[in-house]
């Protein structure tokens, strides 16, 4: 049966080998996932044959990745050669689509995106196995037999296979989907001669090649910390190395997710034509929720690392983040909530729901069963301490999560109870997000400046003197310069507060480093990053967040818009820009018909160049809808954003254009990149991990004193801890 009504179907059978090969590789991956799970659980929980099972687990992870890579390549080949006998290609491919968009249509929709997800999952499993490959060898070198020699050794040997086993279990679900209801390699016979091409919205901008992969690397990456959590629960043991390792994977996944979300905002801004980057769309929210809980984890993990507290809370966060990831993908694929992203897939929706239920109930049971064994004596000594700040941070972030989740689910809830359909949109979400966002912004300036355990009032005075001063001065300066709106003024003051704190931290760290190790300024800075990457990289991330907060505040408050119908030579004036209509034109491209209007743009009288907002109609789009492409002229101070609303179809004599001036919005993307750089600094691999593990081990078990770190490369000198201020002591330990 033909897939597309408008194409002639070929009676000649196309080569089905690609389909068979692709499907076979999916099956192979499924089997590999099964072995990962079985062997991994055995190695982690049983007492005999551990090395063999652990090695098997690792090999299965490698093989699974290999199989999925083959499957991916097969699908790409099928797409690029326009092999319409393969079902997925028949649904999203077309001869007219440019090569770049054909290549990235792998993840554009439906089964292809599940294939992509599965490949990434297999990749994470293999990568994890690879990073732990020398573990077993180390044990064999030590004793040959796996004995309970040292608390730091045996559990980790069993942790790795357990983590892989959990990844394999998740893989069973996704590969199972691929082998069954979401099979992209199905055979279409007779194969059609052409396909409808990808969704027009997904062909309009090259960013589509970046946003979904980043997002998926983030989403799928959350599986690894989740696997750590389950592994820890199964073992009944959370050791120091566990929290450090799981945190690293979480930071990596978090970094990708951050890039994915901001990239999505950027895509939305450049493509959708309404001049905004975030609409609180249900699927957008669903990607934001795991980001919030992951951010909460990044902070509370530090509390655990320092004092062994909050173990079950962190476990909860890891599991919750993973569940929220599943929720996000469920919402996208099930059509339960109407969204611009959603596409329904029949039986896939209920299957996802079932999987989520199993994971949720399973982890609940595990936590209930095991959490008593994980309880550690820990005390928040003082409300004015970094622990308290981090707990407050968690409170706000989880509260934010809950609020956004409530708003997203609320229409569904009301419909279930009352039968009425209501909407919860940006006005509501902006209203609740603003105070929480501001509170978090403010907290970012407090937490890092407070020491662990407790702060003396002297310390508080010294640490906060300048930040508060500069914050207040900034607010006053803004007022004097004419700013009268409350929200941006507060944001600006908080931003100054936070940035001063961060600069202070860097200054203190650099000074200490120079005095101690006699380094130059730049050398000291680099030292800070390499020795305390988590901390100082984290500060860079905070800088990025401040930049984003400022960008949001400025562009939201001072965005202006004008719409006019112009004849040739007429101008529209907005802010310090002018837009002059030149002409309307139309171009026939292989995959679409493009109608555009040319405008000359000016700023403060000086010509900037031409801009051409467009309207596109894709030939093979069954609904033949008009997809607008805005023209965006960016600068550091503001963006001029032009959308073509309508044209005079008879004489092409005039065009209706909407011009938006978006001040400072470029800084949103810049802030995102700063966050990415900070995250990169934080997870950059350093050779001192193994040595620190021992001291952390003792720390994590409730030890309250701090050991010096031992430098491998600097002749194993222990550092002198004769310092006066308690806040400087722990700097070297991080």
């Amino acid at each position: 049966m033909c897939e597309t009504p408008t194409s002639l179907c070929s009676t000649a059978h196309k080569n089905n080998m690609l389909s068979a090969l692709g499907y076979g590789s999916v099956l192979a991956a499924l089997i590999a996932a099964g072995i990962m799970a079985l062997a991994g659980y055995h190695a982690g929980l049983a007492r005999r044959n551990i090395e063999f099972a652990a090695t098997l687990t690792r090999r299965a992870a490698y093989f699974g990745f290999f199989a999925m890579t083959v499957g991916m390549l097969v699908m790409e080949i099928a797409l690029l050669t326009h092999d319409f006998s393969v079902e997925y290609v028949a649904r999203v491919g077309s001869h007219e689509t440019p090569t770049y968009y054909t290549a990235i249509s792998l993840w554009s929709s439906l089964d292809g995106s599940i294939l992509f997800w599965g490949w990434i999952l297999a990749g994470y499993g293999a990568l994890f196995a690879f990073t732990r490959r020398s573990e077993i060898d180390a044990h064999q070198r030590v004793g040959g037999r796996v004995v309970a020699a040292d608390g730091g050794l045996v559990p980790s040997l069993k942790t790795t296979p357990l983590v892989i086993a959990v990844i394999g279990t998740v893989g069973l679900f996704f590969f199972g989907l691929l082998a069954g209801p979401a099979n992209p390699f199905g055979i279409v016979s007779p194969a059609p001669l052409n396909g409808p091409g990808p969704n027009p919205l997904l062909q309009n901008h090259p960013l589509m090649g970046l946003h979904p992969p980043m997002l998926y690397f983030g989403f799928v990456g959350m599986t690894v910390p989740f696997a750590f959590a389950i592994a820890g629960l199964l073992q009944g043991n959370i050791e120091a190395r566990w929290i450090r390792d799981s945190r690293r994977w979480m930071v990596a996944a978090w970094a990708f997710l951050t890039m994915g979300i901001i990239g999505g905002g950027w895509w939305s801004y450049e493509v959708l034509g309404w001049g905004g980057a975030w609409a609180w769309d249900p699927v957008e929210n669903a990607s934001f929720l795991p980001w919030l809980t992951a951010t909460a984890f990044l902070h509370s993990a530090m509390v655990q690392k320092r004092g062994g507290m909050l173990k079950t809370w962190n476990l909860s966060l890891m599991i919750g983040t993973f569940l929220l990831t599943l929720l996000g993908t469920f919402l996208t694929r099930s059509g339960v909530i109407d969204s611009v992203h959603a596409f329904t897939e029949g039986v896939i929706g209920p299957l996802f729901l079932g999987f989520m239920a199993i994971i949720a109930l399973g982890s609940l049971t595990l936590i209930g069963w095991r959490s008593n064994r994980l309880y550690t004596a820990g005390q928040i000594e003082s409300p004015v301490s970094r622990e308290s700040a981090f707990i407050l941070n968690n409170l706000l972030l989880v509260g934010f999560t809950f609020t956004v989740l409530l708003g997203t689910m609320f229409p569904l809830l009301i419909e279930a109870i009352r039968g009425d359909r209501i909407s919860v949109g940006p006005p509501y979400f902006n209203m609740v997000a603003s105070p929480i966002g501001l509170a978090l912004l403010f907290l970012m300036g407090i937490g890092p400046a407070l020491p662990w355990r407790r702060a003396t009032s002297d310390h508080i005075k010294k640490s906060f003197r300048w930040p508060i001063l500069l914050g207040v001065v900034t607010a006053i300066a803004a007022f004097l310069l004419g700013m009268r709106q409350l929200l941006p003024t507060i944001t600006l003051a908080f931003a100054a507060f936070v940035l001063t704190t961060i600069v202070q931290e860097f200054a203190m760290g650099i000074k200490a480093r120079r005095k101690l190790a006699n380094r130059s300024f730049v050398g000291a800075l680099l030292d800070l990053f390499s020795r305390n990457g988590h901390r100082y990289g984290g500060y860079i991330v905070h800088v990025g967040v401040v930049v984003i907060a400022l960008a949001i505040s400025v562009s939201w408050t001072w965005k202006t818009e004008r719409q006019e119908t112009l004849r040739a030579g007429e101008r529209l004036a907005i802010e310090d820009y002018e837009v002059e209509f030149v002409e309307v034109w139309g171009i026939e491209e292989p995959q679409r018909f493009v109608i555009g209007a040319t405008f000359e743009t000016f700023r403060n009288g000086k010509p900037l160049g031409q801009e051409q907002p467009r309207l596109n109609i894709y030939h093979r789009d069954p609904s033949q809808q008009t997809i607008g492409t805005p023209a965006v002229r960016s600068s550091l101070s503001s963006d001029l954003y032009l959308t073509l609303m309508a044209i005079d179809q008879d004489n092409l004599a005039h065009a209706t254009v909407r011009a938006i001036v978006n001040p400072g919005i470029v800084w949103l993307w810049i802030g995102g990149m700063i966050m990415g750089i900070g995250a990169l600094i934080a997870i950059w691999p350093r050779g001192k991990i193994r040595v620190r593990a021992a001291s952390d081990q003792l720390l994590a078990d409730g030890g309250t004193y701090q050991l010096p770190s031992l430098d491998i490369d600097s002749s194993a000198k222990t550092e002198n801890l004769e310092r006066t201020s308690p806040s400087k002591t722990e700097k070297s330990i991080e």
């Binding site: 928040i380 000594e381 609320f410 040595v691």
Partner: protein
């Protein structure tokens, strides 16, 4: 190697005053969104309380006022076909036509509430982007605050607002030697091995 200075005389649980302070401090911060929210709602999203129909002043001034008010009202109405976008933002034809209707009604001296009610009458409650605070909808506005307070209470209880916390210790992890100010022999051995391997 030595301990950092820590006042071991100060046992946990005796600092109830500090804990109480912290609790109140956190509660104040937690509840502050409430008045700030109202402030923000009025200053930014333009709540309709107290907004009157524009005065029949000079033409240009009136035009600009009408534009602003149309945009304000439009921002609260959902474009019927574009999911989460508002009528003010959307470039679709129905949104522009709805804006036209809003503007005409404004020139007809209708109040924003009346305009809003007109659209609800035509399309249903879902045309509003921010649910009206009535009946079950109030859950949306109240629940976040309730959850916040509940969380604060739970945190306060857990942190020891009222005494010592739990005494269970993990049975498998190595317990921290309270007196050892040096690494134990076992740890040193492990460290040496690790160092030689890296």
């Amino acid at each position: 190697m030595h301990r950092s200075t820590r006042n071991t005389d100060q046992l946990p649980g005796t600092n109830k005053r500090l804990h109480a302070q912290m609790f109140i401090w956190a509660l104040a911060i937690g509840l502050s969104p409430a008045p700030i929210t109202k402030l923000i709602a009025q200053s930014v999203d333009g709540a309709f309380d107290g907004v009157e129909a524009p005065a029949p002043a000079g033409d240009e001034v009136r035009e600009a006022e009408l534009d602003d008010l149309t945009a304000q009202i439009g921002a609260e109405l959902r474009c019927p076909i574009c999911r989460q976008q508002s009528v003010a933002e959307s470039s679709s034809r129905i949104a522009r036509e709805m804006q036209g209707v809003i503007r005409e009604m404004l020139m007809d001296e209708k109040t924003p509430e009346e305009i809003e009610a007109y659209f609800v009458q035509s399309y249903g409650e879902w045309i509003l982007l921010r649910p009206k605070v009535q009946g079950l909808n109030s859950i949306l506005y109240v629940l976040p605050f309730l959850a916040l307070i509940l969380a604060l209470v739970l945190i306060g209880a857990k942190i020891g607002f009222g005494g010592t916390t739990g005494i269970h210790e993990s049975s498998l992890t190595v317990s921290a030697p309270d007196t050892g100010s040096t690494l134990s022999a076992r740890d040193r051995e492990w460290l040496d091995k690790a160092r030689s391997e890296s």
